[in-house]
């Protein structure tokens, strides 16, 4: 005869248990399911994505009406269970009794409400079920709505972020000194707080709530803190913790401690009553996360089916589901005498990683900002792996294990599936790997199926690595030239990985991309320094020690160790006063050679290193700034006199040259950049062999790019025509920014153009106006940092860098 099973509570644990039970033997029980909520099983973990609008309720339902009907589960939803009569073996619901042979308590937990005055006011809610979620969603629909969340733990922060995403003005009040204190230490808490504040969420820590204040309408009006601060709100969410819901079990006379006591088979003190989920206490432990609940569900189903099984409480991990706050935490963090920490911090990237070790095992891991290795650490916690062999590099994750024979593919292997590989066509790693597994076994077929590496081609190296990684020995990649002996990656790979992995410091590049030297060499360091400052102008701090001496000392070193000094002459225009100041400086510092350059300025050659700040100061005082004649950056804008004086001039070429130079000066580029502006096609400024050369014509401006007059001589190719001066400027700036963002270090524009093709550049700079505007905007952001005179800055703050450390020749002779 079919036995009768009654289940109280339709939460995630009971839902999973029913699946196991029915899968094991659909005929074993006649099942009745009670739920106080007027609905069946849904994924409570997904309430935050519902709140933030990323999912709907329908998306998170795990069992719908059809499922219950198909599996003969009688549902009594929206009906509370009043009592359990163990003697008669019946469950008494609000609408009548049901007899049972076996009974399962899955009553879950209740949110803990701090008994503050006013905690029962309308508008004070917990964050527990769909009703709570709906209240918060509704609040977001009201313009100017304000909310206070008490509790800076996982749930409270997800509630706060969800409401903030819906436009609510949210304040989080947390009693402890920092957020998520159970999972994070102070510094990680700080990083989290900062990213929440960036989302517009106010966060008050060490704040004690005193009273919830009612408004005239009897609803919540504000939260008052014990320092008297009033935080006005239309909704107050209390997310301070949960308590196992045990009242019914207690009344039924079951053994109850903090939760309903269960043994390893999930059986309570009554052999016919079982329990699982957040309402139980097993071996002293309570449960709030889903992984152990699923384990319990399986064990309980087995017990009901008479299959031997045993619940073992394992470590669990948790992730904060707030977009933009990447946080992972697993295991146990409590300080103990026999525990040690390994901490990795990268403040520039906002990355924090902490491992707690006990003996040779990881017992806890927390990561902020970069959680890619979370699953790997978690598996070591669960498996209690002996990590003594890899302890030195443990914190850097799986890409770093394996000793000296580092796998060149490790960095690519470690990328998550959603990492963007091809920036031009927005193709992620997962898409490419799927295509390879689907039969695209070489680069051409991959390009055809995914468009990856189909445009500028700078990601080709990475795509080939993915081919190698996915196909193994079946794929023979063409040999690519790495930057230098410090790493196995090409310039293009490094550039792409800096962007896709959001690497924002040199140590991050060295670590994440598997550098084989402690801190690079004279070949890779200047390149990496440039890539970082070009990609993250506001976040990355330029490193003078990673620059060739010319750029570090803002002067060109000569064969005898002296330097050349060349002030800027905007568009090649100077004045008698400037010329006098240059002559005075040449006299004062005994400059042996004064030379007029091909770029229309005056070079003072043979200045002693320690005199540099002094001569700069004199030139600064005469109104002149650095000409950057030493930099991989904008050099000169050569001009002819144009329409001001020349009888053939069609436009103000000198004026345009000066404007361009004032916009572009100070910017760092992969290699030097020289411009020319000629006032008519006679081209006196030799614009057609410059990196960017503008030729003025009656109808406007012809913009050519990719000229050369050095090791190679090459005429510019026409990027496009501009009708107005402003358009000519925008095209130039956008072109240079595209070059800055994509070219290999030490490729002049013509070399870069030969690789990516003029069409590709035109699409982004000429045809797509949004793309052009975005390039100009990014250039301006970078220039907010770099459009400054380095001479003046060094005179002010770096002067002693040029002086001797000490002068022992002045010591009295012994």
């Amino acid at each position: 005869m079919t036995k009768k099973l009654v289940v109280i509570g339709a939460g995630m644990a009971s839902g999973r248990m029913l699946e196991h039970l029915i899968a094991g033997d659909p005929q074993a029980y006649d099942i009745t399911l009670f739920n106080a909520e007027p609905r069946g099983n849904y994924n409570r973990l997904m309430l935050s994505p519902v709140l933030s609008g990323e999912k709907t309720y329908e998306d998170i339902v795990t069992h719908d009406d059809d499922w219950y009907a198909e599996n003969n589960v009688t549902t009594r939803f929206g009906e509370k269970v009043v009592a359990v009569d163990r003697d008669r073996k019946v469950v008494i619901g609000e609408k009548g009794e049901v007899a049972y042979d076996k009974l399962v308590f899955a009553t879950g937990s209740n949110p803990f409400m701090i008994p503050l005055p006013g905690h029962d006011l309308p508008g004070v809610i917990a964050y527990r079920d769909l009703e709570d979620t709906q209240s918060m969603i509704d609040l977001g629909a009201r313009p100017g709505a304000r909310a206070v969340v008490i509790g800076g733990g996982l749930l409270g922060l997800e509630a706060a972020a969800g409401m903030a995403a819906r436009g609510v003005d949210v304040t989080v009040v947390h009693i402890m000194g920092h957020l998520m204190e159970r999972q994070l230490d102070e510094s990680a808490g700080f990083l989290l707080r900062r990213s929440l504040m960036d989302k517009g969420i106010k966060v008050l820590c060490s704040a004690n709530s005193k009273e919830i204040v009612a408004g005239d309408d009897g609803r919540v009006r504000a939260l008052m803190l014990d320092d008297g601060t009033e935080l006005p709100c239309d909704l107050l969410v209390m997310a301070v913790g949960i308590r196992p819901s045990t009242a019914l079990a207690q009344e039924a006379g079951l053994a109850v401690g903090k939760g309903v006591h269960v043994d390893d088979q999930m059986v309570t003190s009554d052999a016919d009553i079982l329990a699982l989920g957040e309402c139980v206490e097993h071996d002293g432990a309570l449960f709030g996360l889903v992984a152990p609940l699923y384990d319990q569900a399986k064990v309980l189903a087995h017990t009901l089916l008479g299959v031997e099984d045993r619940f073992v409480n394992k470590e669990v991990s948790t992730k904060l589901k707030v977009t933009g706050c990447d946080l992972f935490s697993a295991g146990d963090f409590a300080d103990a005498a026999n525990r040690e920490d390994i901490v990795f911090r990268d403040p520039a990237r906002g990355v924090y990683k902490r491992l707690v070790l006990e003996g040779n095992r990881i017992v806890g891991a927390v990561m902020y900002g970069d959680t890619g290795d979370g699953a790997w650490f978690y598996s070591h916690i669960k498996d209690a792996t002996d990590v003594s062999e890899m302890r030195d590099t443990l914190i850097f994750g799986p890409a770093y294990q394996g000793g000296a024979s580092a796998d060149p593919l490790a960095a690519v292997a470690a990328l998550p599936d959603d990492a963007e590989i091809c920036g031009c066509n927005g193709v992620c790693k997962g898409t490419i790997v799927d295509a390879i597994q689907g039969g695209a076994g070489d680069l051409p077929s991959l390009k055809a199926t995914t468009k990856a590496s189909n445009s500028c081609g700078t990601c080709t190296g990475l795509v080939e690595q993915l081919l190698e990684l996915t196909l193994g020995d079946d794929y023979a990649a063409p040999a690519a030239q790495p930057i230098c002996a410090c790493c196995d990656l090409t310039h293009e790979d490094v550039r792409r990985l800096i962007k896709s992995k959001e690497l924002k410091s040199q140590p991050a590049v060295w670590q994440e991309l598997g550098w084989k030297t402690p801190n690079g060499c004279h070949t890779c360091r200047p390149a990496v320094n440039f890539y970082l400052l070009a990609d993250w102008p506001l976040e990355y701090q330029d490193d003078p020690q990673s620059r060739f001496v010319n750029e570090r000392k803002h002067a060109n070193i000569q064969k005898d160790g002296t330097f050349s000094v060349m002030p800027r002459m905007w568009g090649g225009i100077t004045t008698p006063d400037e010329l006098r100041a240059i002559a005075d400086a040449a006299d004062k510092y005994a400059v042996p050679t004064v030379k007029v350059t091909g770029g229309q300025r005056i070079d003072l050659l043979g200045v002693k290193g320690e005199d540099l700040p002094n001569i700069w100061k004199d030139l600064n005082e005469a109104g002149m700034v650095s000409g950057h004649a030493y930099s991989k950056g904008l050099r000169t804008v050569k001009t002819c006199v144009g329409s001001d004086h020349c009888r053939f001039g069609t436009q103000d070429s000198t004026g345009l040259g000066i404007k361009l130079e004032k916009i572009l000066w100070g910017s760092w580029t992969p290699h030097k950049v020289k411009l020319g502006v000629s006032g008519c096609p006679r081209n006196c400024a030799e614009a057609t062999c410059k990196d960017v050369g503008i030729v003025c014509v009656d109808s406007g401006y012809q913009i050519g790019v990719g000229g050369a007059a050095g090791m190679d001589v090459k005429e510019t190719e026409r990027l496009g025509d501009a009708a107005t001066e402003q358009e000519a400027i925008d095209l130039t700036v956008a072109f240079i920014q595209l070059y800055r963002e994509n070219a290999k270090y030490l490729d002049r524009p013509y070399k870069w153009l030969a690789k990516v093709g003029l069409d590709w550049v035109q699409e982004r700079v000429v045809d797509d106006l949004d793309s052009r505007a975005a390039l100009v905007e990014r250039f301006e952001i970078s220039q907010s940092v770099y459009r400054k005179d380095p001479w003046a800055q060094h005179v002010e703050t770096e002067r002693n860098r040029y002086a001797p450390l000490a002068d022992l020749t002045l010591e009295a002779a012994e």
Binding site: T517, N519, C521, L805, L808, T809
Partner: protein, 110 residues
């Protein structure tokens, strides 16, 4: 040995160098890590380049003129190049850099 206190370690930028003027000529004092200093003659044996202006990496420096690389520990040229730069004993104590004055004088006398 007679140790002469020349400067604080923080007077030299990390992975940078400064010049010490001595009767024996210019000496480049390097700081390849937070708390280490090395002193080498500030003259590349190849074409006389100022090593103090080179890029410091690991415990090595690259000459700014023609990219010869020298070990800061031994003064030996690395890789295919052959040559050696004089080195001077240096100690770092309590954040101060001390150089062996005797070694400087000896080199001068020689």
């Amino acid at each position: 040995m007679s140790w002469i206190d020349i400067a604080a370690i923080d007077d030299i930028p990390l992975r940078g160098a400064r010049v010490l003027k001595t009767a024996a000529g210019c000496v480049a004092v390097f700081r390849p890590t937070e708390d280490e200093a090395y002193a080498l003659s500030d003259r590349c044996p190849h074409k006389g380049g100022p090593l103090s202006d080179g890029i410091v990496h690991d415990r090595k420096v690259t000459c700014p003129l023609h990219n010869w690389v020298f070990s800061l520990e031994t003064g030996e040229a690395q890789g295919a190049d052959e040559g050696r730069v004089d080195t001077y004993p240096v100690r770092v104590e309590n954040g101060r850099i001390l150089i062996d004055g005797t070694a400087l004088t000896r080199r001068h006398a020689a």
